[in-house]
């Protein structure tokens, strides 16, 4: 993966589509996964990411080279997700889907130990309280630093730490259950 530097941003500001594509290739996947965590639907997340990049393109002249473009992208994505959630009742849908995946998960394949562990861990992550889960995923999956998470979420680094610790406590408890089995 190539990282976006100030030079690329300068080019994007001038309307260079190639640099814009590089920006897309660098961050779209992380952003898409990030959005899925909020809206729980790939289709919707795709549309959101499309909107995010169209917004960036539209207001490209206002991009700031010295600013962290990563945080900027994540922030817009977060805001778009929240906007979507406000307009739609995602929660209900999600609850229904969770029930359906639960019944699916009892296939013979899942007996394989390693897969089961991974599955359990992923499940445990999903069980974390919303705010905690999103912060945890931002750190673990999107490789965002505490400082970046704080900036994107508009919270203090201390809060990020607290939430990460909360995740750790919960996952540790889950893990000990798992080991006992």
């Amino acid at each position: 993966m190539q990282y976006i530097n100030a030079e690329h941003i300068k080019k994007i500001k001038k309307g260079d589509v190639r640099s814009f594509e590089l920006l897309f290739n660098s961050y779209a996947e992380s952003l898409l996964k990030f959005a899925v965590r909020y809206v729980h639907d790939l289709n919707i997340a795709e549309d959101i990411i499309q909107n995010v990049f169209m917004t960036v393109w539209k207001y490209r002249s206002e991009l700031q080279e010295q600013k962290n473009i990563k945080s900027y992208l994540f922030t817009i994505t977060k805001n778009q997700c929240l906007k979507y959630i406000r307009h739609n009742k995602v929660e209900q849908e999600y609850a229904a889907r969770e029930l359906s995946t639960e019944s699916e998960s009892t296939t013979p394949l899942d007996i394989v130990q390693e897969k089961e562990t991974r599955h359990s861990i992923n499940n445990a992550i999903q069980e974390l309280p919303e705010k905690c889960r999103i912060i945890f995923c931002m750190n673990r999956f999107d490789r965002l630093t505490y400082a970046e998470i704080a900036e994107i979420q508009g919270i203090s680094i201390k809060t990020v730490e607290t939430q990460m610790m909360r995740a750790l406590k919960y996952l540790r408890k889950k893990l000990s259950h798992l080991n006992k089995k």
Binding site: G15, V17, F24, E29, D41, E46, Y84, A124, R140, N179
Partner: protein
């Protein structure tokens, strides 16, 4: 040290947020306490777990849409707009001059969509479609065009749609942050350009992303395959469900078909004007079932028909029908299918010619 503080440092350690001193400290703790060492090792596994991957083509799809919107934005790429303009005019004159007259330089899409039997169920409920920013389901209005009728409607964004007999359109009274409509039947769309709000058409099992401004859709229930023909510009076609991976981008002059539950076919070059015929009250069927032909005639002329030998319905025919007198049309059908067609008021009965039977 307070236990809480200890775990905070361990969390930082796991998250690559700790200082060198803290790292050293954690090492010391682990050296002294094998239990803790085990716990941290386990947690490390959790910390490094991979997220469920997303389908590989997902991002391609998104980028395609973005790329196309950028291309179509005249403000952003004025250089590109000019040559495209002349090409479109040139191309249009050759293949369907009459459309050019009406729609000038705008991209014209022709999507012919023949939908499946499931459509009738699909249209009463939309549980399968969950796109962002669409108005809530109950806010969608339904416009049904009676057989023998034709309707023109202008949507809230200025998009104009002509609908042929027997078609049904679901649309929100006002569009939110995205534009999405549902069609069953046949329609010509004149979509107002808005790069911030791409226009999507959901037709049965297909999702068509409109990357330009004008296009035509046909979506009838007697055919389980959605087929899309593009007169100009580009559209993307795919199964509407997440699980179905492949998307094709169909360019002007090409056609792709999407059977239910399968992948769209490779686009092939077709004679586009054949698919625009309905707007001129004529329609061409190529190797179509008699069932499809009769269904179209039924909508145009609003009659009911009864077929006494179902084999007739599966017969394949190629025919060019002009919407003239119903009797002339039925006579044509009678000849090519080798059947006797009798009309009793609005009811029509179709029988295989006697010579075939004992």
């Amino acid at each position: 040290m307070h236990n809480n503080e200890k775990w905070k440092i361990i969390t930082r350690f796991l998250s690559n947020e700790c200082t060198d001193e803290e790292r050293k400290q954690v090492s010391e703790w682990m050296a002294k306490d094998p239990e803790l060492r085990k716990t941290i090792a386990d947690l490390k596994q959790v910390w490094n777990i991979k997220e469920t991957p997303i389908p590989a083509d997902s991002l391609d799809r998104v980028w395609h849409s973005i790329r196309n919107q950028i291309e179509f934005d005249p403000v952003d790429t004025p250089r590109k707009e000019q040559p495209d303009y002349s090409k479109i005019i040139h191309w249009s004159k050759r293949y369907y001059g009459y459309v050019t007259k009406v729609y000038k330089y705008a991209a014209v899409f022709l999507l012919i969509i023949l939908s499946s039997y499931f459509l009738s169920h699909g249209f009463t409920k939309f549980p399968w479609d969950s796109s962002p920013f669409t108005a809530k389901q109950e806010q969608y209005k339904t416009l049904t065009v009676e057989n023998g009728q034709r309707i023109k409607i202008t949507l809230s964004d200025g998009t104009r749609i002509s609908l042929d007999s027997g078609s049904e359109l679901k649309y929100p009274p006002t569009f939110g942050e995205s534009r999405k409509v549902y069609l069953s039947g046949e329609a010509f769309f004149d979509v107002v350009h808005d790069p911030d709000r791409p226009f999507q058409v959901i037709a049965n099992h297909a999702r068509i992303q409109v990357l330009g401004t004008k296009f035509n859709i046909r979506a009838w229930q007697e055919n389980p395959t959605v087929s899309v023909v593009v007169a100009d510009g580009k559209v993307s076609l795919r199964q509407k469900d997440v699980e179905d991976k492949k998307t094709v981008i169909i360019r002007r002059g090409n056609k792709s078909e999407l059977p239910r539950g399968k992948e769209p076919s490779m686009p092939v070059t077709v004679e586009v004007d054949q698919y625009l015929g309905w707007m001129k009250n004529e329609i061409r069927f190529k190797n179509a079932s008699v069932n499809e032909v009769l269904a179209q005639l039924q909508r145009w002329y609003d009659f009911k028909y009864q077929v006494h030998d179902s084999l007739v319905l599966n017969q394949r025919v190629s025919v060019h029908i002009k919407k003239t007198n119903v009797d002339d049309v039925l006579q044509l059908i009678s000849i090519i299918t080798n059947t006797d067609i009798k009309k009793h008021g609005e009811k029509i009965s179709i029988r295989q010619k006697i010579s075939n039977n004992s």
